[in-house]
Every structure is written in C-alpha cells, then in structure tokens.
Amino acid sequence: MSAHPANALPLLERLPVALRDACTSWLPESWRWLANSLLSIVAIFVVFATLFALLTLAERKILGRVQNRPGPNRAPLPFLGIRTYGLAQPLADGIKMLTKEDIVPRGADRVLHFLAPVALLAFSILTFAVIPYGRALLPVELDAAVLYFFAAGAATELAIFMAGWASRNKYSLLAAMRALAQLISYELPLLLSIVPVVLVAGSLSTSEIVEQQGTWLFGVFPQWHVFTPWGFAGFLIFFVAALAESNRSPFDLPEAESELIAGHLTEYSGFKYALFFMAEYFGMCALSGMGVTLFLGGWQAPIPALAFIPSYGWFAAKLLALLFVFMWIRATFPRLRIDQLTRLAWKFLVPLALVNLFTAAFWVLSSGWAGPLAFARWLVAGTLVLGPFLVLGRRLSAGLGPRTYRYA
C-alpha cells in the first residue's frame, strides 16, 4: 500500500502501513508482497463495507430528520435489548436480507441474473484501488490511475443492463434502457469535467494530482483545484454527473420506485438485492473519493496548522462531507423526467465542460502572470466560467417560467 518511503513520516501517519508490516513480518520475503496486497484488499473491503452499513443508517436518519421525524432508532442490540439510537439497524437489515428467499423469475436468464449483481459489485470494488486514502495509503500506484478509475466505473453500467435484461420483466427492461441512455449521456460530462484537472496537473496519476494541490496561497488558502474558476465549474459538473452515474436521486430514473417499481431491482430479492445496494453505495463512495482527490485536495489539510491530523483523517472527513451532500440532495430534489435528464446532459453539462476545457487551458497558459495580471487572470477565467453558465442556463430554462394552474 505504500507509495512513499514511510519511515520519514510521523507515527500516526504511517500507522496503517506499520500495522500491516507488523502483521506480515513473519512471512518470507517473497511472500510478503502477496500478503501485503491481500491485507490491503481486506482492509479496504472491511472499511467500506462498514461504511456502507453505517451509510444506509445515516441516509435514513438524515432523510428522516429532513422530514422532521427521527428515522430508525429502535432496533436493539441483539441479546442485550439496548437501543443505541438505531445503530443496530444495519445488523437487523443484514440479517433480514440474508434470510429472505432468493427468487429468480421463471423466464429469467439465470446465468446473467446471477452474474449481474456480482459483476456490479466487483467493478465497484475495483475502483477503490487507485484512490489515495492518505499520504502513505495508495493501494495501487498506477500511471494512468484516473483512466483506470473511470474504465472500471464504465463497466458497471453493463452490469446494470444485464440485471434489467436478465430479469425478463418489462419494468426492468425499461429501466435498463433508461440506465443505458442516462449513463452514456453522463459519462461524457463526467470525463470532460476531469480533463481540465489532468490538463493542469499534467498527469493521470492520482497521487501526483493530490501532491500538486498541497501548497498554500499566502500560507493560508489551500491551492485545491476547486478554488480556481475552472476547478469550481469542473467540480460542479463532476458532482452532477457523479450523481447521475451512481443512480442517485434526483437522477435515479433507472430505479424510480414510483413508476418502474425499482426498475432493474424489481426481480431481485434477498442477498442479491443487498449486493445491488452495496454496489450503489460503493459507487457513491468511490466517486466521492475521486471527487475529493481531483478537486478537494485529496488528503491535504485545509490549513497548514491542522496538518498534524493524519492525512487519512482529512480524506475521511472530506469523503463523509461529500457523501452527506449526496444525501442532502436526495432529501431535497424531486426526480427528473427522462427528457429533462438527457437535455441537462447534452445541452448544458457537455457544452459547459467543453468551455471549461478552454478555461483550464487559459489558466495553464497564464500561469506566469503576476501582480495586476494575476487579477486579470482570475477575471478572464471567471468570465469564461460564469458567462457560458448564464447563457446556457437561460437557454436550458427557456420557456419554463412560473407555472400557472387553471382549475376546471
């Protein structure tokens, strides 16, 4: 897991690596590499599976609080009967899911029906490999890490289609078609929104991108990408596209409980259903982690004085904050219609992302500007971001004035 010579770092910083090395030190040298990798995989899986369990609870709690109700708070600890503000709810849900009957429709394609959740989860987990969780915590150091991330993410779309098609259910198939249209549409802005980061960083390696955001302007302001005009626009586009890519509300059309009766999940029950949910949350975590890495400074501390907190702590804090925004958005916005969804992608996000590419190019070219020219640099870049946003936004909402209601 180590990307750096870990010995120079403070103890707290290299604690996970040191723990791992302590666990595998008794093995012969040639086996240690394998054991270290396996241990990293297990650690990532355990951490994110726990996070998944807690996220399901947190999501229900937050949704509840937004709707002025407490959310799940009754499930007691097993055999003790102590209620811990619903902390045992994931456990209860897990037991329920595991003991449910696994139903496969008679006309279903049994192989694909089984393969779909497995493939979905496998590809979701693959994306965790290249996210730098801390200064010394990068599971796989890849030169083309960003590309790897989105390649693995792209394969999940196929799994959703498999689920919808293999179920032999008209709702599932409709959902699969919607999923295809949505995911193809939003793949484009997602990739275009990260190209500026790659352009400015000059690298596809996640660790290098994070390292480059580790400086402070005037010793106070972090130089994260999100604090530049192009980075801000890129982050917003990335976030909207990530919402759509992870099938989250308000872009949860493939599921759409109210019209497609949960879409591609209709014919799934029991543990396979749980796997789908796990994959959805994993995808959400992975995309949030990538957003943190690319735009929010990764594991860098926001101000130098707080750098004593270990880097993985900062990464976790930023990740959780972003996940909270995912849930907040789910609690706020109603679902889009399919035509609104594709229109938003093709008529708004894609042009905006293309213009953002030029903004980033300008930012790179004008990196030498200083003094009053630096002000001009911000002005030009800001105009390049805000102008298209206003123009495209006006065109997007053209003809959508305040609605008038006529009563019969």
Partner: protein, 232 residues
C-alpha cells in the same frame, strides 16, 4: 439565474434538518408505545356501558335492557337478553349484553337513542386481538365501565349527563312529594315509565354527586342524549 431555486430548496431542507434537533414545533413525532398524545375529547370509537358503583359493576349498570339500541343499531351488532327472576318477572337489567366491535360502525346511534344515558362511546383503541371472533365480541363484563371513567374520557359531556340526571332525579322527588301531598296533577304529566325506571335505578345507588357546572346546558325534563357536548 439557473440554480438559485436549487439553492433555495437545499436551504429549506437544511433548515428542517437542523430544526428537527432543537425545535419541538418541527419535530412532531410521538414515539407511540412509550409516548402518547392526548386524545381529543370528542374522539370516539366503540360503545361501552356506564355503571355507577365500581364496587358492583354489573349490578349498577344504568342499562335496563329496553333493547332500543339493539333495534336501532344499523349493522345490528348489539344483542341483549333481559334478566328475569324465577317467576319470569323482568328485572330491568341485561343478562346478556353482547357487542361485536368487528361489526360496529361507530355511528353512535345507540348513544343517541338511549333514554337512560346507559351507553356511551369509548376511547379505548388498543383492541387488537389474536382471536378474531371471540376476541372482538365484547360481553357485558367487558363493556361495563364506571361513570368515573366516563368523566375521565369525556369530561364535558359526562358533566352534562350528570346534571341532567340530577335534575331529573330532583323532579322525580318533587313529583313524589307532590303525589304524597294532595296534588296528583303534576306527577301524571312528568312520570313516564322511563323516568320512573331511572328514578328507581338512582334510588338504588345515587349517581356520583358531581355538581353541575355553570356552563351546563338547560336540559329538558326528558334525559336527552348529551351530544354534542357543549363547548365550555
């Protein structure tokens, strides 16, 4: 500008999210089995029978088994058999009073028609049972509840009923006195069999002496069903 509406929406949900932690006006959930909301006074579901003396719940039922409610009940969920002694003389109290609450429609007609204020609407709602036939068929013993309980669930209405009963009893006593004195005219007009029966019941065990409140309505001589209860 595009997005301002979205931000407004996010602000609303954020306000609710934060407000549910400190603002009781927003956080309105009652966690039911532990916490309960107070039922509104006029809430009603199924009828019960009023008795006057908790020491003898079946002996002091106001019901005289006149079967008016049984005949009036739209879904016919009441079944009454009058108690008789060995000679076959009617004892003016129910031997059997069955009420099937799986059939009852909570229409309150039995309460309206009862001339003796003997049947009233209950507020007990935790009546789920595992036995869907026997468990929902309530007998005289299950239905019989004290006048104090009636005061507890419908205070205003019960005060009105008590006032009316007391007034009637006073009239009865006056009529009796008048009958004893040489003035038999007044008794003939007021002493209907119903009122006589009530008088008889009250003579056995006088109604709890609830002083009629000032806001109690002017009830007529005949015991009118106290519905709707006057709002104080």
């Amino acid at each position: 500008m595009l997005g301002s509406g979205l931000l407004q929406g996010l602000a609303v949900t954020a306000k609710n999210l934060a407000g549910s932690f400190h603002d009781p006006a927003r956080y309105v959930t009652t966690e039911y089995p532990e916490q309960r909301t107070k039922l509104p006074e006029n809430y009603r579901n199924f009828p019960f029978l009023v008795h006057d003396d908790p020491a003898d719940p079946n002996g002091t039922l106001r019901c005289v088994a006149c079967q008016i409610c049984e005949k009036e009940c739209p879904p016919q969920c009441i079944y009454i058999v009058m108690e008789r002694d060995e000679k076959g003389k009617a004892l003016r109290r129910p031997k059997v009073f069955d009420l099937d609450i799986s059939v009852c429609i909570s229409c309150q007609i039995c309460v309206e028609v009862c001339p003796f204020d003997a049947i009233k609407m209950d507020q007990e709602y935790e009546i789920a049972t595992r036995n869907r036939f026997g468990g929902l068929l309530l007998h005289r013993e299950d239905l019989s509840k004290s006048n104090a309980y009636y005061h507890q669930i419908h205070p205003t209405e019960a005060a009105g009923v008590d006032a009316a009963l007391a007034e009637q009893k006073a009239k009865q006593a006056a009529a009796k006195a008048a009958k004893a004195a040489p003035a038999p005219k007044a008794a003939a007009t007021t002493a209907t069999p119903a009122t006589a029966a009530t008088a008889q019941d009250s003579a056995i065990s006088p109604a709890p002496a609830a002083p009629p409140p000032a806001s109690a309505p002017d009830t007529p001589a005949n015991p009118a069903p106290a519905n709707p209860p006057p709002d104080a």
